[in-house]
């Protein structure tokens, strides 16, 4: 088998990797960062803009995959948490603007706080009851913006003045690639830097005790409780972590879209996040990334196909959701573990022969 041959070099490479969690994760982030710079510098401004969009979906999705994949709590309401982050950002980047990193931090904090509330309620609920409550959250929270239209701008929302690239940054990249810094590209850098930071922190958590006990709580509540784990607290903590990510995602969204408006946080957004996470492969950061890419790149690709196949604009537009729906179904039917599950299965099919899984008797 082909994969068997490559395990040796892989093992050899593994030996050179740093042994500490932090070291390994940092190295991965560094590699990813280089990839991001390369991709952003080599692609068109339009792709940059799409990548910026993907970054906020992905930030929310990695947070959600921790909540749902690791801790087993389903949330159909992450869009609402993104709204909290987006509005916080919009308010802070309004009239007397604070520096945007401060706004982002504040967005994460405020949303985390909201996450404490939601998480505390959610920690008592299970399965469809949790789904129902979070679904209501998704449709309910945007209503707040309409009710407090004086502060939050009602249906129209709040405009956001997105940050411009500081000169040193633009210069540095020009020096590297001789490309100009468009605003789309800068926002993409911002989004991806945030995403990588979030992924670093989440990867740290997943490799730590928290990753383990969250999964334990997911798998068997009773046994977890007997081992001294406080179910409620751990659930709330998972919710808070995931909410903070959603808040950051909302913040990036607000800056990329330049607007925080209720119709940007419909139930469709919440459901899309969940589908992204599951299609990519529940519980895996890479899977969340893949799922977000699908969310951003699939619909326009399909619409374009439709248009070039001679469909009218309206039909082509409907084709995208149609294909998206079909893809969702097919992925789950064909690869119930999502794309990551599929990859892992392929990988394992190649490697098990070489490792000694003889069983212990």
């Amino acid at each position: 088998m082909g994969a068997r041959i490559i395990t040796k070099p892989v093992n050899a490479v593994r030996r050179f990797l740093p042994s500490s969690v932090l070291g390994r994760n940092l190295l991965a982030v560094l590699v990813a960062l280089i990839a991001v710079v390369l991709v952003l510098e080599l692609t068109t401004p339009f792709r940059n803009a799409q990548l910026a969009t993907m970054s906020y979906y992905a930030i929310a999705a990695v947070g959600l995959t921790v909540l749902t994949g690791l801790n087993g709590q389903i949330s159909l309401g992450h869009g609402a948490l993104m709204a909290v982050g987006a509005y916080t950002t919009a308010l802070l980047l309004g009239e007397d603007a604070v520096p945007f990193p401060v706004a982002m931090l504040a967005a994460a904090l405020v949303t985390a706080l909201a996450g404490v509330l939601v998480g505390a309620a959610a920690s008592r609920l299970h399965g469809p009851y949790l789904a129902g409550a979070t679904l209501a959250l998704a449709v309910g929270v945007p209503g707040l913006a309409i009710y407090f239209d004086g502060l939050l701008g009602g249906e129209q929302g709040l405009p956001v003045s997105s940050p411009r690239a500081p000169d040193w940054f633009a210069d540095a990249l020009y020096f590297l690639s001789a490309n100009d810094m468009s605003s789309a590209k800068y926002l993409a850098y911002l989004g991806w830097a945030t995403l990588l930071l979030v992924m670093l922190l989440l990867a740290n958590l997943m490799a730590s005790r928290f990753g383990r006990v969250w999964r334990a709580v997911r798998d068997d509540e009773v046994a977890a409780e007997l081992a001294g784990l406080r179910l409620g607290r751990l659930r709330v903590l998972a919710f808070v972590v995931s909410a903070a990510c959603a808040g950051l995602a909302g913040s990036v969204l607000a800056m990329v879209v330049r607007l925080a408006a209720p119709s940007g946080f419909t139930i469709v957004l919440s459901l899309s996040l969940l589908t992204a996470v599951v299609v990519g492969g529940l519980g895996s950061l890479g899977g969340a990334l893949l799922g977000s890419a699908l969310l951003v790149f699939l619909p326009p690709a399909v619409t374009n196909l439709g248009t070039s196949a001679g469909l009218t604009g309206v039909q082509a537009a409907q084709l995208a959701p149609f294909v998206y729906g079909v893809v969702l179904i097919v992925v789950i039917l064909v690869a119930p573990g999502g794309v990551m599950g599929l990859l892992r299965r392929l990988w394992r099919a190649g490697t098990t022969t070489s490792s000694d899984q003889g069983g212990t008797r």
Partner: protein, 418 residues
Amino acid sequence: GGRPGEGDGEGGGASDVGVTADTIKIGAHFPLTGVAAPGYSEIPTGTKAYFDYVNANGGVHGRKIEYVYKDDAYNPTNTSQVVNELVLQEEIFAMVGGLGTPTHSAVLDFLNSSGVPDLFVSSGSLLWNQPEKNPQTFGWQPDYEVEGKIIGQYLRDHLSEAKIGLFLQDDDFGDDGEKGVRAFVGDRIVAAERYAPGNTDVGPQIAALQASGADVVVGFNVPSYTALSQLTSMRLNYGPQWIYSNVGSDPALVGSLLNRFSEGKVTDASVLDGVITTEYLPGVEEKDNPWTRLWQRVWDEHGGQGELTNYRIYGMSEAYTFVQALQAAGPEPTRAGLVEALEKIGPELTGPALVPYRYSADSHAGLSGVKVVRIKGAGTEDLSPVLVTGNGDTEITEHTAEHAPPPPNGIPDMKPVG
């Protein structure tokens, strides 16, 4: 490290993005899917039909107009994405007719900072008229305040005893309209009920209007809510004089929606009979109007499936205005030139609309007025002359100029300016 100055010459000659020797590409965003799609998704089909018609007749300055419209599902997040796509990937020359207040707000900054002309937003919000801040953006339809004012004056002069109720969409649309109405009859408003778009149960709102004793209800709402409010008041046997803003009253659409409830005892087509509304474009029902005849011809030749509707006429009318602007921009159009030309020709611009445009160097507001009409059978009868006004305290005046018919070939003939 030293590098060439940024900003690709916004005023310079480099801005003929999207223009080739024989084509010019423009774009728009519309809700083609989702809750807002019904009705509004027809607008770009009208626009496209008219552009095809123009193209078939030689285009503008020899260039064919390529019109790309994309779906945003009425979600501002998507709008920002598809507009990115239009501007950065499709490299459109200008945005024409992008629809919706919250949606278009999301791309206002982007379009303006990228120097993309943003013409004729399909919405009557006041936001599009900020030439200082958003020099590229122009409104098109009469804004809701102007319409509200004219309705308010009508109420003051002709229904002077009535207690007035308002039925408002809970956003700028309702707010701007309310502002206009209140300016004239604020003291007689006994109830202002708002509905949240998406919540189709308007029973409580109508019940409250009924309880307030309003004998006239002014609705600033979209067409589906006109139908819903009519159905609900029928249920309650509540029969005030209804006045709907132009956006919500499309008699053809609403009438066809309502008259199908045959077994629901709404048999005759006259459900909307007697309802008051406003007009600024000749509609499908005015079969003899030369403009309508033109639109019918265009639709028959270049339309896709379906009938000509008022939404399609709306789209064609915007397209017509755009052709005028493009002609005025001259044989070598630039983005800056287009904006400049529109500002210049604004005052003398005529077309399918009954009223003049307000475009100038310091106004990007669209049409300046409406006439008040009563729906009668399939058509309408005028209740007021064509009235024009502006925002704020501007007087309402009569617009007496004759509405010119379209040119025989159906294509405007604006002379290049400057």
